[in-house]
Amino acid sequence: MIWIDPLDGTNDFVKGNLPAVTVLIGLSIKGFSRAGIVHNPFHVDDLTKGQTFFGSAEHGVFQIAHTKEMTAQDLFTREINYLQPFDMLKEPAEDHSIKVAASLTHFSEQMSSIIKTIEPVEICRMGGAGNKCNNLAIGNVDCYIHPSPGLCYWDLCAPESLVKGMGGYATNLA
């Protein structure tokens, strides 16, 4: 089963918040997310550049650069960067605030109060479910919490596979 979100973060796309936009293709086998491809057409540091992440728990997560100027030959020979998975044995610093990615557009008092039960916490509001998972996979945030209905398989299958590839976990709160 392939789950597609053709343009995750449409709200942000419409508002011009382009780095939040991702194209998500996830492969699910017997109900489990197993492999994902996440393309980010507008890099947060340089909107003229893009990047693509792909991977699985078995093979790890890889990052490749993409620009529209690249020739077919450039694309076939570009470097594939392996992202070092999370070091589960490393203890965070005493004063480390847990960085939580949370929704930019669907954010309620209730969500805020649930997330604030974590102490000390730093809430990083950002657009796009795929984009939030990506930030989690590359280690910019420690977790992504969405204590509200609204996420669908097409939002999650691809980026969840990357989170698993980094050694992370995905779960529901129930």
């Binding site: 089963m1 392939i2 789950w3 597609i4 979100d5 053709p6 343009l7 449409t10 709200n11 796309f13 419409v14 382009l18 936009v21 194209v23 293709i25 492969l27 492999a35 491809i37 996440v38 393309h39 980010n40 057409p41 507008f42 893009g50 693509t52 792909f54 699985s56 728990a57 078995e58 093979h59 790890g60 490749i64 993409h66 529209k68 077919a72 694309l75 076939f76 594939i80 392996y82 998975p85 589960m88 557009t105 669907h106 669908c152 398989y153 097409w154 050694g167």
Partner: protein, 119 residues
């Protein structure tokens, strides 16, 4: 009756999806630069643009041709894609596209990660 099973090579599948997603990134960039998003509201804080529709059509059509035994489910409805054409033609997915990521590469990475996976 033909069997509904076929072996799919994961490295090839990933290569194809990387190519398709990056081509679709160009569609999104193009729509963004044109300034004409043709936004329709599907619900509160739930818009859809022409880029969403074109990208889904492109991904769905190509994946269904290449992998007819896989179910493909996207966010946008069939009705919304009526009259829309795929931007990527199946014959542009060449042998070179399909071997960007190779099985040897994935197998090697899997082998190197064995300790990590087991722990």
């Amino acid at each position: 009756m033909e069997s509904a099973f076929e072996d799919i090579n994961l490295a090839e599948f990933m290569s194809v999806c990387i190519y398709l997603s990056e081509e679709c990134g160009k569609i999104i960039r193009h729509v963004s630069e044109s300034g004409d998003l043709k936004t329709i509201a599907k619900g509160v804080e739930n818009p859809v643009t022409i880029a969403d529709i074109r990208v889904q059509k492109t991904l769905e059509e190509n994946l269904k041709i290449l992998y007819p035994t896989l179910n493909v489910q996207g966010e946008e409805s069939k009705e919304s894609m009526e009259g829309i054409e795929s931007i990527v033609k199946p014959d542009s997915i060449t042998a070179s596209v399909k071997k960007f990521v190779t099985s040897e590469f994935l197998n090697k990475k899997h082998h190197e990660r064995r300790d990590f996976i087991e722990n």
